[in-house]
Symmetry: C2
Subunit: 377 residues, 2 copies
């Protein structure tokens, strides 16, 4: 590596599937060196979306070509709506047209949607090729690029088709966050706050306190967020790779959140926004069940409400539709909806069955909170 | 198990993914007991095709229900043409409609097509559920149900989308072979002969000598074939699960064979038939390159030609189209076609690059052999 390229390394310890996450500035222009170090085969196929391609595809390509790799790219339309089997099928066709062979590497260059889609393709094309994650959004850097969850949505539910497929390594270039729209930073903060709530009270306070610096995309603070979240996620994932148990805590906010995304057809709410709202509702459930003190519940809700969400975020979903969507959640067991619930700031339960009546109450509460917030922002 | 249920067990040693293959008569009616023994969750979803459903679905369902499992079934149309992403998508929809949860088991009840499709769905539905193989054809029992290769075809190539996903166990009920059409027995014999050629001269002789008993579906002989092939396959797969190396020898006959299947749009030739023809062509290549004695090449060809293939099997494919199809084979590296070649009866090479001109010669030779055979049969 050049001296100018400084970075931290967080390891995800998963036996023979262990891998490093490289976190730093200007790593994209050194991508080829990381490929060299990991002795990846000569053929590289980058999957990215139109928005990211415009900004970063050339830099990534140039670095790989300079390092002696043969590089092709497939550019897909942006948006969660594209994360489906039909798009995957179109990408398989491109891969075959390019004669991409089994000994090759697929790179996901972009946010969570690109990472999930490209990862699913890497996991399934010719029964699996090498995979590298290059997340370019805060959400992808702190969460979705780490841990091997890949997949696509189904018309009837989010991430219903997928796999656990670990990358060879992850390169999180903090520099790419500079070009991120504010709304995308907010999405990332959604997952960042989640990590604080589920495992680390100190980290939660750091995020809450530094919210202005985060929104101003201050490099040092962002690097701290990314490495902190990756460390927490690595710890959880290494203990339970396939989510038989502990890993489920990462889904705090996601049962209600996924239902909100689904009800809005993945258009009206972005993933991180839905998770923020989901955490409000699920914290209410914990409070309503007497599992968390009013003080801690208020701290969680307060921190979330301080995050500036767009005024357009309303709540126009029939609660019964949301409940129906939740019944399709992957944590559902024996037909019962299960939620991860906070018991304090920094601690959550494993998924537990919650009475649908209480979830309905929480949705009504969430709607009320959003209405009052719309008046304020 | 009831005393009346006798069976052999072949273990596939794959560390934490190890599993047994149970081989015997009347095992289908004891299916529930195997599920109990393996402590599988309460919900079971059987995927099968119309032909197999008619014969065996009720028996399997009854056994599972009697053992206390909640059983649903999805019946797909038969045929290799159905092994695609569109069919998989339709099955995902059914699974979601049935509210099949992550803690459940998908059973493949049928031949290789059902096994590959159901296995792919088990590997990817909600990022993977438990999987059990219940192969009901000779081909599936001796080959495709063992080793974890699952997947679907793509318009541009066979098995181009898939995964390595091991079952919890395999139940090979020899009794189900009684109802198998003769053409399906021949398909299975294709893979059986392959095992002899690639690893075991004695087994090859046994198959050649006992061909009449095999075609008459004599239970004792069939059980010997199934356990013998499973043992050989387990040995190979346990050394190289993801086909980085040794496992590729199992593809003897498959590079040419897949191209023949593809050229015939998976209609004119069945998989096992295509493999038989592929082995003739690939043995010719080995002979042409001076890698196998004329005596051993003649023994291989002679044994294959003694297997009664339907008169309708012609060879109406442009060799150039076949070569183009081979270039999409998963063993292709750096654009070069690679073949597994026999060096004697019982021994093959790892995939080696072969000049396309010699492959063309082999295809011309194969056509000539088939023409002469058409006059004889």
């Amino acid at each position: 590596m050049k001296n100018s390229t400084q970075y931290q390394t967080v390891r995800v310890p998963l036996g023979e599937r262990s891998y490093p996450i490289y976190i730093g500035k200007n790593l994209l222009s050194s991508l080829g060196r990381f490929f060299h170090r990991h002795r990846l085969p000569k053929t590289v196929l980058i999957i990215t979306d139109r928005n990211v391609a415009r900004l970063y595809l050339k830099i990534a390509q140039r670095s790989l070509v300079q390092a002696g790799f043969a590089v092709r790219a497939i550019v897909v339309p942006p948006g969660e709506k594209e994360k489906n089997l039909r798009r995957a099928d179109a990408v398989y066709s491109e891969l075959l047209r390019f004669r991409i062979e089994r000994r090759s590497t697929i790179v996901a260059l972009g946010g969570g949607v690109v990472g999930d889609l490209a990862g699913f393709i890497a996991a399934t094309y010719q029964r699996g090729v090498n995979f590298v994650q290059v997340p370019t959004t805060l959400l992808a850097q702190v969460d979705s690029s780490v841990g091997g969850k890949v997949g696509v949505n189904h018309a009837q539910g989010k991430n219903m088709v997928g796999a656990f497929y670990q990358p060879a390594f992850v390169v999180a270039d903090i520099g790419t966050l500079r070009t991120l729209p504010d709304r995308e930073i907010v999405c990332g903060v959604g997952e960042v706050v989640k990590y604080g709530i589920i495992t680390n009270r100190k980290f939660f306070s750091f995020v809450d306190r530094n919210l202005p610096n985060i929104l101003l995309k201050e490099g040092r603070v962002l690097a701290h967020l990314v490495s902190g979240c990756c460390r927490m996620k690595a710890l959880v994932v290494s203990q339970d790779e396939r989510e038989d148990n502990l890993r489920a805590i990462l889904n705090f906010g996601h049962t209600v959140g996924h239902a909100l995304e689904h009800a809005g057809s993945y258009r009206s709410l972005k993933h991180g926004e839905a998770i923020l709202l989901g955490m409000i509702a699920e914290t209410f459930v914990a409070y309503r069940l007497g599992m968390i003190s009013s003080k801690d519940a208020a701290r969680i809700e307060g921190a979330i409400l301080r995050i500036p969400m767009p005024r357009s975020i309303g709540f126009s979903f029939a609660p019964s539709r949301l409940i129906a969507a939740m019944r399709l959640d992957k944590k559902v067991a024996s037909g019962k909806i299960r939620l991860v619930l906070p018991t304090s700031v920094g601690k959550v339960t494993l998924p537990i069955v919650v009475d649908e009546k209480i979830i309905l109450e929480a949705l009504v509460y969430l709607r009320a909170v959003l209405l009052s917030k719309a008046l304020v922002v």
